[in-house]
Symmetry: C2
């Protein structure tokens, strides 16, 4: 399982303050703690929601440059703004990098996919287009095909695409969990060269004991074919769910990582 650490996200109040104050110590601590907890990629979202585009461009350059000096992991530039993504990518030191994300909207694909191709980035792709989020797994799969066609046009390789089946809360509609899992399985079957990725926490929005639901959803998603997860790598429920689900699905040779994890986790 590829773990993408989600904690550097300026929509979180404490992180917003770190970004606004250019608190280098605070930023490095967030990056380092996630790397030490096993994150394979560090997501970097410096969009505070209240700054200008110029602020965000300056912030992503600051953050990307600083984290690379301290942490030896690929970074994921997380923004809906093409110029912010480009600013982040242009400050990469040559290590592997990722973009989060592109949608299946024509304009957005034509902005982001050539950029990902030029920087040889991995790319998170969301099966939603000008009409919004498709209601069924089949319809989400169709939207993924649109993304694949534009990737092929720009020479972006399938094995650097990470499809996110989109996760919506079960509290408002209890069918959403199955729609996400069935979308994931359908995408994995149709595009075996590409990878799948999910942010877990949306599924539990509005319910108590959210960590239990997030971890439970991860077990199911691993069986459905999940390759990567956007999560808090320091969350022990998530760590255990990864180790257990990999042991159960044949992704942990001789169950060795599982046996090791159970010794270090409670």
């Amino acid at each position: 399982m590829i773990v993408i650490g989600e904690k550097i996200n300026a929509t979180i109040k404490r992180v917003k303050a770190i970004v606004e104050n250019r608190d280098a110590e605070g930023l490095i601590q967030l990056a380092r703690a996630q790397a030490e907890a096993g994150a394979d990629i560090i997501d970097v979202n410096v969009g505070t929601g209240t700054g200008t585009q110029a602020d965000e461009i300056d912030a992503i350059q600051w953050a990307v440059t600083l984290i690379q000096q301290q942490v030896d992991k690929p970074l994921c530039v997380d923004s809906a703004d093409k110029d912010v993504i480009e600013a982040g990518l242009s400050h990469m030191d040559g290590r592997p990098c990722m973009i989060n994300s592109v949608k299946a909207e024509e304009r957005n694909m034509e902005d982001i996919i050539p950029l990902a191709a030029a920087h040889q980035a991995m790319l998170v792709a969301l099966p939603m287009d000008e009409s919004g989020i498709p209601a069924t797994a089949d319809a989400r799969l169709e939207v993924c095909k649109k993304i694949v066609r534009v990737c092929e046009k720009h020479g972006f390789p399938a094995d650097r695409l990470f499809f996110d089946p989109l996760v919506l809360p079960v509290s408002s509609d209890t069918t959403q969990g199955m729609i996400t899992l069935d979308s994931l399985a359908a995408i994995k079957r149709s595009f075996p060269e590409s990878k799948t990725v999910m942010g877990l926490s949306n599924v539990s929005y509005g319910l108590p004991e959210r960590k239990k639901l997030n971890a439970g959803f991860l077990y199911m998603a691993v069986y459905a074919g999940l390759d990567a997860v956007i999560a808090n790598p320091q969350d022990e429920d998530i760590q255990m769910a990864i180790r257990v689900s990999e042991a159960l699905t044949g992704k942990d040779p001789r169950c060795r990582r599982y046996a090791r994890a159970f010794r270090t986790l409670k």
Copy 2:
């Protein structure tokens, strides 16, 4: 999720003593505790492994009669011996009952399926035949079809069949988890009227922290289409996994059971 309480099993040392000593208090306590913890069906296996057939027939009559006086739940007669099963069923007081289990061996099917039909019992069916346990999901599905044909011949209805996809330890072969889950999904697709059932604990044999693996496997199996589980209903990891997985797969309207469970479980 239909929970079949597994604790009355005379291969467990403490239970063996209860059966051998005809310890009514001990037996009732095991049955009642499981019913109170939410078991829908109580499995009754009085095979100590060291007694004669006559001993086991006497024991099943004693156990079935006694439990029915104290606990208001369907019972599952758990034995490989046709005469023991028949003795157990003949002492039922008219409540719904279950047989655990029939294999796809010709002789065994001709013994057990007519018995299940005559007593209107539910029937756990194992996709293994004279050649043993098939190695792949497709092969297990073929063996299930043999069972269905014999059921049709004897007028045993599909909706009282509970297929067990067979669970083997991942510690000796890490592919076994996926084979079981894929068998389960294939069986559910092919026989939508029938139900699926699994004993969890085999999957974790030989590994540490077995409860974590058992609960993790339950999450995956619920997504794959599991209807019933043979488990310890007092195990809080299992209780939580059932509540969480039902909330995530749309089987818990408005997530109400989940919300209630999180208040009573830690």
